[in-house]
Structures are given as structure tokens and as C-alpha cells.
């Protein structure tokens, strides 16, 4: 299973790095939502954005901080979950081993 998971992970890395290499000179890698708002103003040039976010991260740094916090919270919880499950499975195995000896 570990080997198969490593292979799958390699696939993910190739998919993420591939575009960076492939478009290294030409692309800006802007967000697709920014491109969509640009497209909206081309389709309907008079459209007035009628609501603004209640709060905006004051800089790109703060924005990346909050994205990192989001990812860290999620990854931390996932790690806790699998660590707990693994410990539980190993503990069960060990106690079953003792029982049979």
C-alpha cells in the first residue's frame, strides 16, 4: 500500500510542478477568479460590483499567512487522526500478540 501511495503522490507532484516548468517564461499564474472578474467586465462592461468583502487581508503576506493557517489547521487535524488510528491499531496488535503467547 505504501508503494502505491508513493506512486500516487508522485503523480500529484508531477501535475503541480509540470505547469510551472512548461509555462516558466510565459504564464503569470494569476487566480482563475481574477480572470473571471476580468471576463465579466468584458462581457458586461457596465457591471458595478455591488458588494465588497467585509474584511480583506491587508497585504499578500497576510493573505498567505491565513491560507497557511488554514492548511496547517487541516493538516494538523489529519495528522492527529491518522497518528491516533495507527497507534490504536498497533496497540491492538501488540495486545493480541500477548494474548496468544
Amino acid at each position: 500500500m505504501m508503494k502505491r501511495n508513493l506512486l500516487l503522490l508522485c503523480g500529484v507532484i508531477v501535475l503541480a510542478v509540470g505547469p510551472l516548468v512548461f509555462h516558466s517564461k510565459t504564464a503569470k499564474f494569476s487566480g482563475s477568479d481574477d480572470q473571471a472578474s476580468a471576463l465579466i467586465s468584458r462581457i458586461q462592461p457596465g457591471y458595478q460590483r455591488w458588494a465588497m468583502p467585509l474584511w480583506q487581508p491587508p497585504s499578500a503576506e497576510i493573505e498567505s499567512l491565513i491560507f497557511a493557517v488554514q492548511a496547517a489547521l487541516g493538516a494538523g487535524l489529519l495528522g492527529y487522526y491518522f497518528g491516533r488510528r495507527r497507534g490504536y491499531a498497533e496497540g491492538k496488535e501488540a495486545s493480541e500478540g500477548r494474548a496468544t503467547h
Binding site: L20, A36, R49, A51, M52, Q70, G74, L77
Partner: protein
């Protein structure tokens, strides 16, 4: 990437909100029921939510030369069903709207519809039907997570096309343009999400068999 604050006309915001609200309410009731009847899966429920959190935070480059992020909803949809996933998605969308100016409060209903309702229903439908017609479970999980992700952005494209029909091509013409921005960018990201979800599924198969069988019972079938 979700529909930005203020970028849907107010009438559309209200309409999508009205469509999504019953799903959120039904989902919240379902979450309560699951937690009450099977308290032992609480942590797995939190972990599925955490997976949505992580994947929604990963802005990945795509072959189109732009960036977007996966949704992460396929895992929760396969484990807990679509209505529970609606609630998890709503929480993540609210977090991003309030703290990241990503998506929006006015567009929350529309974004819950694409990410929290259509995506999870597509994923769940594939997960339930594909093994029945002979596909292996990992293939079904891959397809569920990939197409759940992609369908979310197809819906987003159509939501924008309904609001901003092209002067020449109409709704369909606009949809093609928005699909070019959202859906095409999403293809490699959706595949990544499919692969990652199979990885997590494999780990669950190794360490969480008892929880998976509880959830199997929960969905009304032998695991």
C-alpha cells in the same frame, strides 16, 4: 476558485441562497444525527472537514498558466454522504469569505450550491454506482473525487453565465467562456484531488476499517 463578493446580481444571490438553504439545514440535521448515533466517527468527520480545509487552501498552478484550488469534498461525500458534506463546505466557504476575501457572503449561496451540493452529489453518486457495475473501489473513489471537483467548477461557470450572458453567444456562449477560465484550469487539479483522495482512502482502509464499516452500515449497506 469561487464566485467573488458582489459579482452576482442581488436577485441571483437570493435565488441561489434559497436553493442552498434547505440543503444546509438538512445537512446540519444529518450531522447531528450521525454524531448522536455513532459518536465513534466524530473524529473521522472532523478529519474529513480538515481535508476540505487543506485542499481548499492549496492554490495550485495549472496547464492554463493560471491558478485554482481543489475542493476536497469528494472524500467526505463518499464517507458521510452529500448532505453532511454540504455543511463542511459551508464552513470552509464562510471561513474563506470572512478571513480571506475569497468567495463572498453575498455569493455564499451560489458557492455552497456548486461546492457543497452538486460536487458532493456527483461524487457520492459515482462512489455508489461505479463499484456496482464492476469498477474497483479505488477507481470509483478516484472518479468520485475528480469529477466531484470538476463538476463544482462547471456549475460555477454556468452560474456566472446565467448572470452574465454573452451579448452575442447568449448564456451558452458565456458559459463556454467561463468554462475556459474555470473548468479547463481545473482539470489537472481535479486529477490531483482524485489521486490524493485515493491515498487517504488507502490509509483509511489500513487504519480505520472499523469506522468504515460503521459508516457502511450508516449508508444502509454491508461494508
Amino acid at each position: 476558485m469561487h464566485i467573488m463578493e458582489g459579482y452576482l446580481p442581488a436577485s441571483h444571490c437570493v435565488a441561489w441562497g434559497a436553493v442552498s438553504a434547505p440543503f444546509v439545514i438538512a445537512g446540519a440535521a444529518r450531522v447531528k444525527q450521525v454524531v448522536r448515533e455513532h459518536p465513534q466517527v466524530k473524529l473521522l468527520l472532523a478529519a474529513s472537514g480538515a481535508y476540505v480545509f487543506v485542499l481548499s487552501a492549496l492554490k495550485l498552478p495549472s496547464v492554463t498558466g493560471s491558478c485554482s484550488h481543489p475542493t476536497g469534498t469528494g472524500l467526505a461525500a463518499c464517507l458521510f454522504g452529500p448532505s453532511v458534506t454540504t455543511v463542511l463546505s459551508a464552513i470552509v466557504l464562510l471561513f474563506q469569505a470572512l478571513l480571506l476575501a475569497h468567495g463572498g457572503i453575498t455569493t455564499l449561496g451560489a458557492n455552497i450550491f456548486s461546492m457543497g451540493i452538486v460536487g458532493p452529489f456527483v461524487a457520492y453518486g459515482l462512489y455508489r454506482t461505479m463499484p456496482a457495475v464492476g469498477f474497483s473501489v479505488p477507481v470509483a473513489i478516484f472518479a468520485a473525487a475528480t469529477l466531484g471537483d470538476l463538476s463544482t467548477y462547471v456549475v460555477t461557470s454556468f452560474q456566472l453565465a446565467f448572470a452574465f450572458p454573452d451579448p452575442v453567444g447568449g448564456i451558452f456562449g458565456a458559459a463556454l467562456k467561463f468554462l475556459g477560465v474555470f473548468a479547463f484550469t481545473q482539470v489537472p487539479l481535479a486529477i490531483s484531488e482524485g489521486l490524493l483522495t485515493v491515498i487517504v482512502w488507502n490509509l483509511l482502509g489500513k487504519y480505520s476499517r472499523d469506522e468504515l464499516s460503521t459508516l457502511g452500515a450508516l449508508q444502509g449497506r454491508a461494508a
